[in-house]
């Protein structure tokens, strides 16, 4: 065995990750920090192995003339929930497929625990493909046992794991039914169970939340959090950015096959311009148009959202608002991940 750590060893080890250096990149109107590749490389080579990190190291992939990934790089630390976002066709699925070895990269490497991922390592990954896939005519229980056994579990252990996960995911009553007879939401739960039955040491989930009802979203979120707490690096892609914002420790935004932003949600949001939310019921439209250093982003009903420029004084805004009458709300906030994401896409539009 090439891997110095067993899975059990990994659980205790996950807190020991080292923060990679960050450098600031400029793109569009925003400044976003991405991991400093050179620093990280130096750390990996010289530093300790066995940190349980999943590293996607500058992978490139082209399909004919179409470049899907261009030196895409990010890492998911043990015990971390990593959100992978990007518009359709940005390369998220391709990157995940390469991490799983289902697709071969043209260049670059995927490492786990400092060692390139092999077939043996892949057996430790729990995977949920974007295009859900289960045998439609096979019974739920049998199917899960089969998949668990393909991942190396003994029949008894597979059976136990299937009971445990179907109960946890609320499909225990359907183990004797064919998959095709289940509703799409329940098929999705079974699909997640398929990714979890072999007690994976890494979780790679492509759009795990799409098509789930709010209850199932909570169940799924809880499972992912627990897995991360147990020291498993968890990476998932999603278009539900509010969910990503709430759930993830770090987020990577991918555009045209490249990582354009990768940091904690707070760090990413702090790069956006500060916003002011003003609720002034008697303010006429256009009340803030002549204020310097601020721009009105939105005016709905009595609620106005303003972008606060560098060096602008928010107290001037408050005074102007009070001059119109009562002010029931006045607060500062950072732009949401959704807005950051829109900016990325907009920057893409400018670049193209």
């Amino acid at each position: 065995m090439l891997y110095p750590l067993s899975y059990e060893g990994l659980r205790e080890h996950h807190t020991g990750w080292v923060r990679a250096g960050l450098r600031v990149l400029h793109w569009g109107r925003n400044r976003v920090r991405v991991p400093n590749l050179d620093d990280r490389m130096g750390w990996t080579e010289g530093g300790p192995v066995g940190d349980g990190r999943l590293e996607i190291d500058r992978i490139s992939k082209s399909f004919g003339d179409v470049v899907a990934l261009r030196e895409l790089a990010f890492d998911v630390r043990a015990g971390e929930l990593f959100g992978f976002v990007g518009s359709n066709g940005a390369g998220k699925t391709t990157a995940m497929r390469i991490a799983l070895g289902v697709l071969a990269a043209d260049s670059g490497e995927v490492r786990w625990d400092g060692v390139p991922v092999t077939l043996e390592t892949r057996r430790r990954i729990g995977y949920m493909p974007e295009e859900r896939g289960l045998y439609p005519k096979m019974r739920v229980g049998e199917q899960l046992v089969y998949l668990a056994r393909l991942h190396g579990l003994t029949p008894a252990a597979a059976q136990r794991a299937v009971v445990e996960w179907t109960e946890r995911l609320g499909v225990a009553g359907r183990v004797g039914d064919e998959v095709q007879k289940l509703s799409l939401g329940n098929q999705q739960r079974v699909q997640l169970a398929a990714a979890l039955v072999h007690d994976p040491g890494i979780l790679v989930l492509d759009e795990p939340f799409s098509g789930l009802d709010p209850v199932a979203v909570d169940v799924m979120s809880g499972v992912l959090r627990d897995k991360a707490k147990a020291g498993v690096p968890v990476v998932f892609s999603s278009h539900q950015l509010d969910l990503v914002e709430r759930l993830c420790d770090r987020v990577g935004i991918v555009r045209s096959g490249q990582m354009v932003a990768c940091d904690t949600v707070d760090a990413l949001r702090s790069t956006g311009a500060m916003e002011l939310v003003v609720e002034a019921p008697s303010a006429p439209p256009g009340w803030a148009d002549n204020l310097s250093g601020v721009a009105v982003k939105e005016h709905v009903g009595s609620r106005t959202i303003l972008a606060l420029g560098d060096g602008a004084d928010d107290q001037v805004v408050l005074r102007a608002a009070l001059a119109t009458g009562a002010v029931t709300e006045f607060s500062r906030r950072r732009p949401s991940l959704t807005e950051l994401f829109r900016n990325v896409v907009a920057a893409d539009g400018v670049a193209a």
Binding site: L100, R123, I125, P129, E131, R132, G133, Y135, L150
Partner: protein
């Protein structure tokens, strides 16, 4: 987990899924019923007589000569003594008798309903000739019995330059049954492989599987699993068929050659199945929808069908046909033609050995080629992958 235990898991799933499927159970039971039914029909047909003739008055003395004459030309006639002629005529009219011999026994006078069976007419003609001849012999002062003995021994002595194989009628039938079975089995199980590959592709489960195991393991497991099911089916059908045939007394060939036929059937099923199903698996991987399976596997399927059609239409009438003999050595046709020839008998050992050797030698090449196509094509969903593209990478 070693490489082959993954193959074993995949094969195990195939076996369980298929043994439980209604289609499998129905086809197996239907084939068994047909086979046993066929044996029963043969037994009933073989046991009865060709015609029943009533004898009345003086003609009752003709009973023994009639039977003897019938036997000499391969007919079985049942005779029945009728006490009065009108009763006999009534029975002819009702159809319980095919014919009624009347008269004093010195000549042949026959009453039939409308017309007479040609073979019965021939028998009666020979009998009439015999009677006339006997009369002449008696008139000349001779003993008809003595003359009959002398004549009975006289026949042409045939001296072939090349001794021909004496094909047994039962073995010809066995050969045809073997042909039908192997054809059906290749068709059904071979297509199962292609459909199974496409099922995994179209349901996308292949991506989940290939994240854990390698393409060759998935393909090998599928082919071995379905092959095992086909083998079990073949053994059950062949075994029950032979036991029914021997038990009912329809098969009078030796137990050894009957078992030999089943063994050859199994050997050729396995060879044919592996050769063809590897091709079917690779071609199945090229498409993503069940509707497209037919299109890609038709070309190789044509060879299976062509071999079967040639065999089933030529061999029963001409078991030693040169064209079939040559084609049965070619790996493409051997799986359908060779087992038919082997069941019919008379295949030189070198031909049997050569045909097996050629197919066995071809299989590793097919494994390599199909593995390549399968690996390159199985993850590409969407449209149809061109064979040339799949081979290139």
């Amino acid at each position: 987990m070693n490489a082959w235990s993954a193959v074993g898991l995949v094969a195990g799933r195939e076996v369980r899924t298929r043994l439980r499927s209604k289609a499998f159970i129905i086809t197996t039971v239907a084939t068994l019923v047909l086979l046993v039914g066929f044996a029963l029909v043969m037994k009933l047909a073989g046991g009865g007589s060709d015609s029943t003739v009533g004898l009345t008055g003086g003609s009752t003395s003709l009973s023994a000569p009639l039977k003897a004459t019938a036997e000499s030309i391969g007919q079985t006639i049942e005779t029945r003594e009728i006490h009065d002629e009108p009763a006999g005529r009534r029975q002819v009219d009702e159809g319980t008798l095919d014919a009624l011999l009347v008269g004093d026994g010195s000549n042949v006078v026959v009453v039939v309903k409308k017309d007479i069976d040609e073979k019965l007419r021939a028998t009666l003609n020979v009998l009439a000739g015999q009677l006339a001849l006997n009369q002449q012999i008696v008139d000349l002062g001779g003993d008809p019995a003595q003359v009959a003995d002398a004549v009975a021994d006289a026949k042409a002595e045939v001296r072939p330059l090349e001794p021909p194989f004496d094909y047994n009628g039962q073995q010809l039938v066995l050969g045809m049954i073997a042909g039908v079975l192997i054809y059906m089995s290749l068709l059904v199980n071979g297509q199962s492989v292609a459909q199974g590959v496409v099922e995994e592709k179209s349901s996308r489960v292949v991506e989940l599987l290939l994240a854990t195991i390698q393409p060759w393991q998935l393909m090998a497991g599928k082919v071995l699993g379905i092959g095992l099911v086909g083998l079990i089916q073949m053994l059950v059908i062949g075994g029950v068929g032979v036991v029914a045939g021997l038990g009912l007394g329809v098969l009078t060939i030796s137990v050894g050659s009957a078992v030999g036929t089943v063994v050859w059937l199994v050997v050729w099923f396995l060879l044919g199945f592996f050769a063809y199903s590897l091709v079917f698996a690779a071609l199945g991987a090229l498409v993503s929808r069940q509707e497209d399976v037919g299109g890609v596997i038709t070309p190789p399927l044509m060879f299976v069908i062509l071999g079967y059609v040639l065999g089933i239409s030529i061999l029963p009438g001409d078991p030693g046909n040169k064209l079939v003999e040559t084609l049965s050595l070619v790996p493409l046709f051997a799986p359908t033609l060779m087992p038919m020839r082997l069941a019919m008998g008379g295949v030189p050992v070198w031909q049997a050995a050569l045909s097996v050797t050629l197919v066995v030698a071809l299989i590793p090449a097919l494994v390599w080629l199909s593995g390549r196509v399968y690996r390159n094509a199985v993850m590409r969903s969407g449209g149809k992958v061109r064979l040339r593209d799949a081979l290139k990478m």
